[in-house]
C-alpha cells in the first residue's frame, strides 16, 4: 500500500534532516572549527577520499567482530547449557561470570595480549568478552523458563532428561538465545573496534577501524576520524540487520512477537 510506505520512511527522514540542520546550527552558533566538529559534507568528502583504506579496515574489523561474536554465541550457548542444567553450577559459576563482566576490558588488556597474543586473536578475545555475557544470561533464563505444566507432561510421558532438553528446553530457549544475540550484535562491532584500539598491532591497512581511529587522531585528520565512526556505525547496522533477519527466519512462523494485528 503506497500510503503505508510513506508512513514508514517519513519519520526517520524528517528526523535525520532535522539532525543535520541542528549540526550546522551548532557549528554556526559555537564557531567550532573543522578539527573539532567537521561538517557532514567534510565527513562525506573524507569518506570518499579515504574509501580504500576505510573499506579495507572495515573488512578487517568485520572479521574480528564476526570471530568474537561467533565465539561468544557458541561459548555462550554451551555455558548456558551448563548453568541451566545444575543449580550448584549456577550458584558456583555465576558470581565469577559477573566479576568477569564487570572488570573493565582496559584492565584486562595486557593479560589478554599475553595469552592470546596481539592482533587478531587479542581482538577476537576482547570482542568475545564484551559480547558473551548477554548471550549467557538470556539463554540460561530461557532454559529455565520452560512451562511447569509442560515439564510435568514430559515427566508423565516418561521423557528422558535428554529428550526434555532437546524437545522442550532448547526450542523454548531459542527466542531468549536470539534476544541475547541481538544484544551481542550491537556490542560486537564496537567491541572489535575497541579491541583494535587496545590490543591491535597490525598495520598496513589490516589494522581495522580501531587502528584508523588511532592513526587519524595522531594526524589530526578529524573529518576522516568521523568518517571512520560513520563506517563503524554502518558495520554495526549490518550486524544487527543480519541477526534480526535470523531472528525473523527462525521465529516468525510461531512466536508471539511476530503476531500480526489483523487476526
Amino acid at each position: 500500500m503506497k500510503s503505508r510506505h510513506w508512513v514508514l520512511w517519513l519519520p526517520p527522514l524528517l528526523s535525520g534532516a532535522l539532525f543535520v540542520a541542528l549540526w550546522y546550527g551548532v557549528r554556526a552558533a559555537t564557531g567550532l572549527q573543522s578539527w573539532i566538529l567537521p561538517t557532514p559534507e567534510e565527513i562525506l568528502a573524507a569518506a570518499v577520499r579515504e574509501h580504500a583504506l576505510l573499506l579495507r579496515a572495515a573488512a578487517s574489523t568485520a572479521v574480528g567482530a564476526l570471530g568474537g561474536f561467533l565465539a561468544a554465541a557458541v561459548a555462550g550457548l554451551l555455558l548456558a547449557l551448563a548453568l541451566g542444567g545444575a543449580r550448584w553450577l549456577r550458584n558456583g559459576l555465576y558470581p565469577w561470570l559477573l566479576i568477569l563482566q564487570m572488570t573493565p576490558v582496559i584492565v584486562l588488556a595486557p593479560i589478554i595480549v599475553l595469552w592470546a597474543g596481539p592482533g587478531l586473536p587479542g581482538i577476537i578475545t576482547v570482542t568475545f568478552l564484551i559480547s558473551f555475557f548477554p548471550i549467557v544470561v538470556n539463554t540460561t533464563q530461557g532454559l529455565l523458563s520452560a512451562d511447569a505444566h509442560m515439564v510435568d507432561l514430559f515427566r508423565m510421558y516418561g521423557a528422558t532428561r535428554r529428550q526434555e532438553l532437546q524437545l522442550l528446553r532448547l526450542p523454548g530457549a531459542l527466542p531468549y538465545f536470539l534476544a541475547g544475540l541481538r544484544i551481542a550484535a550491537t556490542l560486537a562491532p564496537i567491541g572489535a573496534i575497541f579491541g583494535e584500539y587496545l590490543v591491535g598491532n597490525a598495520a598496513g591497512g589490516t589494522g581495522g577501524l580501531g587502528f584508523l581511529v588511532y592513526s587519524y587522531n595522531v594526524q589530526i585528520k578529524i573529518p576522516a576520524l568521523f568518517a571512520t565512526g560513520l563506517i563503524g556505525c554502518l558495520l554495526g547496522f549490518v550486524f544487527v540487520a543480519a541477526v534480526a533477519g535470523l531472528n525473523w527466519a527462525l521465529l516468525h512462523h510461531w512466536h508471539d512477537s511476530f503476531e500480526r494485528h489483523d487476526r
Binding site: W35, I36, N201, Q219
Partner: protein, 335 residues
C-alpha cells in the same frame, strides 16, 4: 607521547610474566634454523612500524642481517602489546624500547638484559606553541602540561628541579593542544611537531634531556637472558647488523627502509618520514655527539650508572641494582 601510557603496564608485569611463562610461542632460549641454515630471530619493536624504527628495516632491506647469517623477523608492537613481556616470555628473542622501562623491569626481576643502545638519546620531549615557548625547565612553572602520569621526566622535573606544573593525563591526540596555545604536551620530537605544523600551528619542541640535563636515558636493544646465555654470538651479530643499519639509514640512502615502512603504514603521509629522519639527524639522537665520545650503539658504564642513580633518587627504582645486572656491555660493536 602516546606510548608513555604504558606505565600502567608496569605493576602488572611481574605477575603477568609469572602467569604466562608457559605461554610463550617457543621455549625460552630455543632457536630455530631457517631451511637455508640462517638462524631465525624474532625482534619485537615497541610500537606500530614507524620512521623511528628505520634502522632495523634498513638492515633488513639491505641484507645486513642475512650477511650475518640471521633470518630476522620484525614483530611490530602497539598499545598494550607488552613488548617487554613478549621478550621476557619468549614470544620474541630481542626487543627495543625505553631504557628506563628496561632498567625498572630488570630491577623487578624480569629476565632481560640491555645489550646495546638503539639511540644515544631518547626522542621524548615537549611540544609548545611559539607564542608561549619553553626554553628552560623553569618556564614550565605554573603551566598546564599533558604528560603520561607516571613518566620519569615528570618526576625528575618535580623532585630534582623543584618545578611545579599542573599535570593532565596524556590523551591519544593533539586536539586539545591545537586549541590551547598555552598548553604544553609531551611528545616525540620526531613525530608530533610534523602533524601540528601540517595543521597550521607554529610550534617548537625541546628534548626532555635538553630541559633536564641530568636526565638523559638511552633507547635500548635488549635480549632475553636465556637466549643470551645460549646464543651470545647471534646476539653480537644482530647488534652489529642493526647498528650498521641505523648508520646507513641516517647517513646513507634511507629509501629501502622507508619503502618497507610505507608499505606497512599506508595510513601515514610521505612527509612524516622525511621530517622524522631530519629530526633524528638534527637532534643527534641515534649517532649522538662525537665530541662527547658518543656513537651509534654505544653504552657506557657511567651513563648507565647515572641513570640508575637518578631513577633511585626520584623513587622509580625501589631497590638498588647494578649496571652489570641491567646490561652486558661486551656486545657493543667496536667503532
Amino acid at each position: 607521547m602516546f606510548r608513555r601510557l604504558h606505565p600502567l603496564l608496569r605493576p602488572l608485569l611481574l605477575p603477568a610474566v609469572l602467569l604466562a611463562t608457559g605461554c610463550g610461542h617457543r621455549a625460552p632460549g630455543a632457536a630455530t634454523e631457517a631451511p637455508d641454515g640462517r638462524m631465525q630471530i624474532r625482534f619485537q619493536t615497541d610500537w606500530f612500524p614507524e620512521p623511528e624504527h628505520g634502522g632495523y628495516y634498513q638492515a633488513l632491506a639491505k641484507g645486513y642481517y642475512a650477511a650475518e647469517g640471521l633470518d630476522v623477523q620484525i614483530l611490530p608492537g602497539g598499545p598494550n602489546s607488552g613488548y617487554l613481556a613478549a621478550v621476557a616470555t619468549g614470544r620474541a628473542d630481542l626487543g627495543m624500547g625505553d631504557g628506563d622501562d628496561v632498567i625498572t623491569a630488570v630491577a623487578r626481576g624480569v629476565p632481560v638484559k640491555i645489550v646495546a643502545a638503539e639511540m644515544e638519546h631518547d626522542p621524548q620531549g615537549i611540544l609548545f606553541h611559539d607564542e608561549h615557548p619553553v626554553r628552560r625547565v623553569a618556564d614550565l612553572d605554573g603551566r598546564v602540561v599533558m604528560a603520561g602520569p607516571a613518566s620519569v621526566w615528570v618526576q625528575v622535573v618535580q623532585k630534582v628541579y623543584g618545578v611545579n606544573f599542573k599535570l593532565w593525563p596524556l590523551g591519544g591526540d593533539l586536539a586539545r593542544f591545537m586549541n590551547d596555545p598555552q598548553l604544553v604536551q609531551q611528545c616525540f620530537v620526531t613525530n608530533e611537531p610534523y602533524f601540528a605544523r601540517e595543521r597550521g600551528a607554529r610550534v617548537g619542541a625541546l628534548l626532555t634531556s635538553q630541559l633536564c640535563p641530568d636526565y638523559d636515558p638511552y633507547r635500548v636493544i635488549f635480549v632475553q637472558d636465556d637466549f643470551l646465555a645460549r646464543h651470545p654470538d647471534a646476539v653480537r651479530r644482530f647488534v652489529r647488523a642493526s647498528v650498521r643499519g641505523w648508520v646507513d639509514y641516517l647517513t646513507g640512502d634511507p629509501a629501502p627502509a622507508v619503502a618497507r615502512l610505507r608499505a606497512l603504514r599506508t595510513d601515514l603521509p610521505a612527509g612524516l618520514f622525511t621530517y622524522s629522519l631530519g629530526a633524528l639527524r638534527d637532534y643527534h639522537l641515534v649517532l649522538g655527539d662525537p665530541a662527547r665520545g658518543e656513537r651509534a650503539g654505544l653504552l657506557t658504564r657511567e651513563r648507565l650508572q647515572r641513570e640508575i642513580d637518578l631513577l633511585r633518587r626520584v623513587g622509580v627504582l625501589d631497590r638498588p641494582v647494578t649496571v652489570d645486572q641491567v646490561a652486558d656491555l661486551e656486545f657493543v660493536p667496536p667503532p
